[in-house]
Subunit: 246 residues, 2 copies
Amino acid sequence: MGTRLDIDLDRSSPVPLYFQVAEQIAEAIRKGELAPGARLDNEILLAERLGLSRPTIRQAIQYLVDKGLLVRKRGVGTQVVHGQVKRSVELTSLYDDLRRAGQEPTTRVISLQPVGADEEIAAVLGVAAGTQVLRLERVRYAGGEPLALLHNWLPAGLGPLTAQALEERGLYELLRAAGVRMRVANQRIGARSAGPAEARLLDERRGAPLLTMVRTTYDDQGRAVEHGSHVYRASHYSLEVTLIER
Amino acid sequence: MGTRLDIDLDRSSPVPLYFQVAEQIAEAIRKGELAPGARLDNEILLAERLGLSRPTIRQAIQYLVDKGLLVRKRGVGTQVVHGQVKRSVELTSLYDDLRRAGQEPTTRVISLQPVGADEEIAAVLGVAAGTQVLRLERVRYAGGEPLALLHNWLPAGLGPLTAQALEERGLYELLRAAGVRMRVANQRIGARSAGPAEARLLDERRGAPLLTMVRTTYDDQGRAVEHGSHVYRASHYSLEVTLIER
DNA sequence: GACATCAGAATGTCCTGACAAATATCGACC
DNA sequence: GGTCGATATTTGTCAGGACATTCTGATGTC
């Protein structure tokens, strides 16, 4: 037996019935009339009381489930969710994200070679200037279209990174396979216009807007394991994030 | 007429039929058999071809809509989405960030007025089209320089928002003071070139790269409390985030 | 070329109905 | 008190149906 709900339906309203039900349940939750953990009447009882069909009630409930306000369980019932759970943000790579999004990412390695670290790269990787680090330049394609130009610098010795492996798998996947435990990354997101060389590589016009991301990734010992500077075609790429209040 | 899909159904499988349909459509999208923008067969045709009911087909499609793979429009049809990728970071406001960074943020309110919500704004704010919402246009300065042009839409009645208050405090600060408990926001980050009007307001040249952020913020009851469309001078602004491995 | 109208296409909403599956409860038995 | 089977409860899945609403394209008129 759930908490008694007062729900008014206006069948002359353009607002769909399922939505009216959902909004009034949400309002009852907001006002505390439905406390966290409280059970709602079962679907059939709710439908009868409101003079609606069960699919309509289920649609209203599903809407609130999607919003994170309700949780349902077969044989048990529908319940008001206990408060929001705090989450940390997730460190992923473009390659992982593209695959998860159902786009076929492919990669062309432009160059992969050891170089002496200049002052800036040495600072972010935590090595002495002049130290040999690995410099990587790639173009990332999605659905056959160039999407991003990726420059990465990595300390030497992290694993056998070859051009072929990098064309078949994402960088982070290879690092993980080599035992690197990436834990945290700092990233700066910005925008600028494309220069001639990168415009050519990305099949864009000069001056086209590019979304830029510069990132330094650290392992579980706090050591920098990768520094990346990526540019994305703004016409083909945007970043969607979910922000959470701490 | 949509793209031809090959879908095999196994009615002896414990996997629900709607789920089998959804997974095979997702697979076709991932393999490129359904390209971004491709139209699916209409619901009734799909149902007939697969020997399923329309509600079952609709449930499969809704599942993929929720996953961000498909988009539907009444009278038009169902289409494969141009894919997006997601990452999570902390919810803050530009004003908060600038103050924390020691730059003196100031704000000029260009306009603040109630307007009838168009279809798009109504959809993101969860209100009926035509409902009065508050539309806000501001320029944000940092260190005396224009930095960002901010458009915001808010449901009516969230609190006494005046132009003067908005020039003295950040929007999120005012909303919090009014008792709005912002918890989650979805944000899309992109880039484009400046048009003439915004170039003028931002003291930029036409065509200069702008960092764009479109955000919808929800309170602890899952209600949309703000929709913002912001553009930032890329020459003066970048976003820094910390990413964490799960 | 602009505008209005209309028909067709497709999704959105709501309804009735039935059976399956997961979980909780209850009573019998040891 | 613990175990087990039966039963009740509730959601999950699927089917069929109808009407409403939105959008698009074609057509006609000016």
